[in-house]
């Protein structure tokens, strides 16, 4: 089934066109992004049960972007009626545009050309098997409650089992002089977190699920409760690792964190505009092992797949690294214009209330040819790193800060059963990427989380890839 259009956006579209036409009488470029989205969270744990709309993922609103002949301004609002159009026009002309006049001495205005407005008219929708709204709150809560109970009853040492299901169904319209684009998208995610205590210290293991679709995802979660609980219990026996550099195998989710945090943020080209990314100097250079090819975009169907970005640019499949060579970055429209490159459809907003930045979508390494068992067998002493917990970007210096929950010891080609936790991965990104010597023949993406730009601007992303073998500094 395809996600249906928003009745609300259909209803206000004539008003938005009226507003757009009035803006185009005043400004040579104007566009309006309209959104109608609903995100819902379900959670069951010892704390209780939650059913609530997610305020970050829900809402109706609009952002108008105008070009005053030298620079751009944006006005975000969430009410439009026949009577409010004049007020919006007034606020843009007499409040937004003059903001540049309140600047202190010594601060000037960046000069930009006019954005290309290539004709594009289309309407696209993603597909689902089971729409969460049709499945209903009762069945979703009953399902995750059962999983939570199963997790809690796995062992007396289990403190809690938090099971969540979230979805967002969003509808977007992009209107400009030459564009009239509509997209309707549904993604669903789930997670299982099992917690156990070791004195005051709480250990937990996490597994995430995601799709570009509906609550058919729930079926995937059924079989994992016991393994997540077992991993949590193993963590109770974990100890801190001896800091050092080791041969490591990263699970697909840890590979995804390296792809996204360690390298992906560094090829967001708004960072090139600010001269904040080392990657700009390495276009055409080897930055990784020749085994590595990296993509971002819509070539895969995952939670961050869409048809056009928040600036009206169609989504693409961007090959960022090809056989170890950095080919190109990803960009929003304004950054691409500044850098004289083509936008890649990566201009994304947290919501209509926020600015568009260059953002990743689905970011991953291609699979290779190795078997996981051969990769483990190739290690004399090292670790299998799993359960990525968090990471932070460093585009300027390509420093790595990624945290993983578990390092499983490998001795003479075999897992010993001993585990270390928590683990901080550090080092220099190209050193890590160039040290990749084996890549598994299967790959996985996961889109359970959100990505921030620094500490804000949260957008849905997915990342992943194959198992990789690399040399990594752990602490």
């Amino acid at each position: 089934m395809k996600v249906k259009s928003s009745q609300y956006l259909d209803q206000v579209k004539p008003l938005l066109k009226e507003l757009l036409n009035s803006l185009l009488e005043e400004y040579s470029y104007a566009s309006i992004l309209a959104t109608d989205s609903k995100g819902k969270n379900y959670a069951v744990s010892k704390s209780g049960t939650v059913i609530k709309e997610d305020s970050l993922l829900s809402g109706r609103g609009f952002v108008a972007k105008v070009y005053d002949g030298n620079s751009y301004g944006e006005y975000s609002f969430n009410e439009i009626t026949e009577g409010s159009i004049e007020d919006i026009l007034y606020n843009i002309k007499f409040s937004l545009i003059p903001l540049k006049e309140s600047l202190p001495k010594g601060i000037t205005e960046s000069g930009y050309g006019e954005l290309l407005d290539e004709p594009d008219v289309f309407k696209e929708s993603t597909e689902y098997i089971q729409n969460p709204e049709e499945l209903g709150d009762e069945k979703i809560v009953t399902f995750i409650t059962k999983l939570s109970e199963e997790g809690k009853q796995f062992d007396d040492k289990i403190l809690d089992c938090i099971v969540r299901c979230n979805y967002q169904q969003y509808h977007k319209l992009f209107l400009s002089r030459n564009k009239d684009m509509e997209q309707n998208v549904l993604w669903t995610t789930g997670s299982i977190i099992v917690m156990a205590s070791r004195g005051e210290e709480i250990k937990h293991y996490f597994k995430g699920y995601s799709n570009l679709g509906g609550t058919e995802l729930l079926e995937e979660m059924k079989d994992d409760i016991q393994s997540v609980a077992q991993n949590t219990l193993e963590l109770l026996e974990s100890e801190p690792i001896k800091p050092g550099e080791y041969d490591c195998i990263c699970t697909p989710e840890v590979t995804g964190m390296i792809v996204h945090e360690a390298f992906g943020h560094g090829v967001e080209m708004d960072m090139f505009v600010k001269k904040r990314a080392l990657a700009e100097k390495y276009i055409g250079e080897y930055v990784a092992s020749t085994l590595i090819t990296m993509h971002d975009g819509a070539a895969v169907r995952e939670a961050a797949t869409y048809f056009f970005d928040d600036e009206g640019v169609p989504a693409q499949d961007t090959v960022i690294i090809e056989k170890g060579i950095l080919k190109r970055g990803i960009s929003d429209s304004q950054s691409a214009m500044y850098l004289n490159t083509k936008p890649t459809g990566n201009g994304r907003r947290e919501s209509y209330e926020r600015k568009a930045y260059t953002r990743m979508t689905n970011t991953y390494f291609e699979a290779g040819k190795d078997k996981l068992e051969d990769m483990i067998a190739s290690i004399q002493y090292g670790f299998l790193l799993e359960n990525a917990s968090s990471g932070m970007e460093d585009p300027k210096n390509w420093g790595i800060q990624c945290m993983v929950n578990i390092a499983r010891e490998i001795k003479e080609g075999k897992l010993t059963g001993k585990i270390y936790s928590p683990i901080v991965m550090t080092g220099y990104v190209p050193d890590l990427l160039k040290s990749i010597s084996m890549i598994s023949d299967t790959m996985e993406l996961s889109g359970g989380g959100f990505c921030g730009k620094g500490y804000k601007e949260w957008v849905k992303v997915s990342d992943g890839g194959p198992y990789i073998k690399a040399r990594i500094r752990l602490g």
Partner: protein, 424 residues
């Protein structure tokens, strides 16, 4: 809109509810170096409705709830349908019964702020002036910055008579300072002020310029091993937020935290300073409409208050205080210079510093640290610290010098003994 929501509640015979109204106006300026790259303005109005449904399961009284957004442009029919669906959803939320706070209609509290003295655009211009006033060096400068000045009006209404509102202003944002010689490095910094606090922003920028210039001199990572680690600035607040979060009723009820009033939360045999922490009320009401006041959290290492929402407070049988997000600590026992005695690793900046409230672990990749071997001080970069506050809290030292951030007022620096560092 409030009346339309109340009418929809009445139409559906829903007698227990909580309504939030949130009106926001912002002016936003985005800079690349000393150029305005983008300007934005926002005027939005949000409504959130939580409905509650009481029922029994096997003789136990339950109270389910469900929260939905109500949007401008919705018809009365749409609102009624949404309210009805939310009430239906609440019947599947099997939470034990609890009581909502009671209250009455109060005058809107206008939090005093110098940001309110002119237009948001004027305030943004003045804060922009402060932001760039120290940016006068050739090789170390503000690479880029974002500045948001906002006016927010919150109104909270519930079915137990609570009808309160408050207006607040905020100037907040972030900036990145770059130093290009002898190596090209940068430092990220954020800021948030409830007043037009130009001097505080100037001082912060000046300090960031100095740190970044120092980082450009650092080339090597510290060796792996255990160090006495000194942290300063926002990292002190991040460490101390562990105690704020562990003392929340929502952590204690499911037993994620074993805190109880009267506990020595640093354990026995404390060799360092005993903690004294105050909960700071940053808004007149919690998001449920509970009046908020400053309260003692920890006195001489002993827990005094568990804070939290009405639901978890009811379950624990304690007074509902609202959830606190800000704390204050008194000055410590040593000057910052005295803290830097003997061998130490003073970490000025991380790529990201994380404190895990569940495990007590703290970690971060080192962007700039000063390594003292007892005699010489060497700037270092790279590697990471990986420690556990459950061990470190027995031997804490705080500085006499103080700092004031939006959610933390307290000592400028903290010293933690024997922390593991993954270095070169």
């Amino acid at each position: 809109m409030i009346n339309r929501i109340l009418s929809a509640l009445n139409q559906n015979n829903i007698s227990t509810y909580l309504i939030h109204e949130d009106i926001q106006e912002t002016v936003e300026l985005f800079f690349i170096k000393k150029n305005l790259d983008m300007r934005r303005q926002k005027e939005v109005h949000h409504y959130t409705l939580t409905v509650y449904k009481d029922f029994e399961i096997e003789g136990t009284k339950m109270r389910g709830s469900s929260t939905v957004g109500i949007y401008a442009g919705m018809t009365d029919e749409e609102i009624a349908t949404k309210v009805k669906d939310a009430y239906f959803a609440a019947s599947f939320v099997n939470n034990p019964y609890y009581e909502l706070p009671s209250g009455e209609k109060e005058e809107c509290v206008r939090l005093e702020s110098s940001l309110a003295s002119g237009s948001l655009a004027d305030a943004a211009g003045k804060m922009a002036e402060a932001l760039f006033s120290e940016d006068t060096l050739q090789d170390t400068f503000i690479n880029s910055a974002e500045l948001f000045v906002e006016k927010i009006i919150n109104r909270i209404i519930n079915s137990n008579g609570v009808n309160v509102s408050f207006e607040k202003y905020m100037a907040k944002g972030e900036y990145v300072v770059q130093c290009v010689t002898p190596q090209d490095v940068e430092t990220y910094q954020d800021f948030a002020y409830e007043n037009l606090d130009a001097q505080a922003l100037k001082d912060k920028v000046k300090q960031t310029l100095e740190i970044t210039k120092a980082r450009a001199q650092a080339a090597t990572a510290p060796g792996a091993g255990e160090y006495n680690v000194i942290l300063s600035g926002k990292h002190v607040g991040i460490i101390c937020s562990y105690y704020l979060n562990r003392a929340n009723a929502s952590m204690i009820y499911p037993k994620y935290s074993n805190y109880a009033i009267g506990n020595n939360i640093q354990g026995q045999d404390v060799n360092g300073e005993l903690l004294n922490i105050t909960l700071k009320a940053k808004a007149p009401y919690s998001n449920e409409g509970i009046p908020m006041i400053d309260r003692p959290l920890i006195t001489d290492g002993v827990l005094q208050t568990i804070h939290g929402s009405s639901r978890f407070a009811y379950y624990l049988g304690i007074e509902p205080t609202g959830d606190y997000h800000s704390i204050a600590l008194p000055s410590g026992t040593k000057t910052f210079e005295e803290m830097k005695s003997g061998k130490y690793l003073y970490v000025l900046n991380f790529s990201d510093f994380q404190m895990d409230d569940l495990s007590g672990h703290f970690a971060g990749e080192i962007r700039l640290a000063l390594l003292c071997d007892g005699e010489t001080i060497t700037p270092v970069t790279g590697g990471s610290i990986n420690g556990n506050l459950l061990e470190a809290q027995k031997n804490l030292t705080f500085s006499k010098e103080m700092q004031k951030e939006i959610n933390f007022e307290g000592p400028y620096a903290i010293r933690l003994e024997n922390v593991s560092v993954a270095g070169a």
